[in-house]
């Protein structure tokens, strides 16, 4: 066994980051994000005006979402090296990651369908836009459970030389808690908890970006340690 495959997949994470920066710079459709208070007619007008930028977001979003799958898969693989009484945390992590990524892709598709025929009834455009924001911002329960599972497996790691350092567990709990309030975005149309608010949007997504970047660095170190400990060829 060697870790070359792990390394190739791991380096897809900075590729996703790079694509995110490119998309953010080329297609600034969500800076600032759409307000939930817009009427269906205003939403439809916004889509028509920002057709190119939003299509860019949709296409890049689809690819960026998929490019993050390997990071979660790698975390799961390393969780299976962690020694608990059973692989329960790793299995739960895999399932929760699958649900979370699917929710993200559904958000992306809802926008894509709205943009495919922007002349649709404004009510339908607005509905697809609401659906996209629901799936983009709100389903934090999955990522929260993912983080709790990773933290739990680290806290209970019985190896004399733990796979992950303990601070990674604390980090996962803190970032999970910072993203959790976005679940309440369905209940508000204005203020910090609304989907364009400082908590549900800015805090949630900046936390997620920091989380992905930090976990990339953590995994870089963990896979290198695996080579040293298990003598697998890089």
């Amino acid at each position: 066994m060697n870790t070359r495959g792990q390394n190739i997949l791991l380096w897809l994470t900075p590729v996703a980051g790079l694509l995110f920066l490119v998309a953010y710079w080329l297609f600034p459709a969500f800076a600032p994000p759409l307000s939930p208070t817009l009427s269906p007619e205003e939403v439809a007008a916004f889509f028509k005006e920002n057709l190119t930028a939003m299509r860019g977001v949709v296409i890049f979003g689809n690819i960026i979402g998929a490019l993050l799958v390997p990071l979660f898969a790698l975390i799961a693989v390393q969780m299976l090296r962690v020694v608990n009484s059973s692989p329960i945390f790793a299995y739960a992590y895999i399932i929760a990651a699958g649900i979370g990524i699917t929710a993200f892709i559904l958000a992306d598709f809802a926008w894509g369908i709205a943009l495919f025929r922007p002349d649709r009834d404004p009510q339908l455009i607005s509905l697809l836009n609401d659906m996209a924001w629901f799936f983009l911002v709100a389903p934090v329960g999955c990522v929260f459970v993912q983080n709790l599972c990773l933290a739990g497996s680290i806290y209970l790691d019985a190896r004399p030389d733990p796979v992950f350092p303990i601070w990674v567990a604390h980090f996962n709990i803190v970032t999970g808690l910072l993203m959790l309030p976005a679940a309440f975005s369905l209940l508000y149309k204005t203020g910090p908890l609304a989907w364009d608010g400082s908590i549900s949007f800015t805090l949630r997504f900046s936390t997620f970006i920091v989380y992905v970047a930090v976990m990339f660095l953590v995994l870089l170190k963990v896979t290198k340690q695996q080579v040293e400990q298990e003598g697998v060829a890089a």
């Binding site: 059973s86 692989p87 329960i88 299995y91 649900i99 629901f134 929260f144 599972c149 679940a183």
Partner: protein
Amino acid sequence: MSTIATAEREPVSQPTEPWYKNKKLDQLLCFWSIPVFYNLFGLVFVPLSWMMPPRAPESDLAGVVEFMQSPNLLIASTILILSVGLSAVGNAMYAIQMKRMSVSPVLRFAFIAGAMTGAIVGCLFPMFCFGLGAFREGYSPEILQMLYDFGYLSFIGCLGCFFLNWSCLALAILLDKNNILPKWLGYYTIWQSVTEIFAATVWIAHTGPFAWNGLLAFWFNMVLYVPWQFIVYYCIFQAIRKQPESELYNSGPTPRAAYA
């Protein structure tokens, strides 16, 4: 509750061991998240949203509009979002028992894939259909009715993933030579997966026993499903308790990794 589990586990070995030192703590923590999940799940779908028991597919349009705009649907959606991640833990609970069985890994991997898909199409998506109706006033009755149909049909008509899951579980139990779960549970689980197929008629019938609120397509399934869900988790709890310490990955002089 964890203390009880510790006390009952292996009375001969270190009875003074505190609960948090229990070697099976990972499995016990995950196990006790299941009642939390199902209580919240019940709260969301019954007294909070009154989505269950199911409303009639042929409700009059005014009734559908009124239901789809009730603000409780958004509170129900929020609680579901907060708890849906725990469904992953509940499903992983089956998968780790399937890993202990003398069966091919394909059964648990197919189960895991089905659990991912099922949580989205049979749980989160339907609830969001109801939440979307309530989120914005002024959607036309036709749109609200489409969301109503989409919500109910994907919730009750989501049978493929669960048919796959329960079939894999039943097959694993019956083929297993390690007797991790009792054989009768395997046969009961076959019945559970067959009832999922019974719900197929909800995609066609608007009224009568085969509709989504019908006697055969819904209530018959519920009568089988609800006790099954309790029994299967009870059996899994027994399986965790009975798992010998020597089989645990974190016991013995050299702890070993579980891998896949």
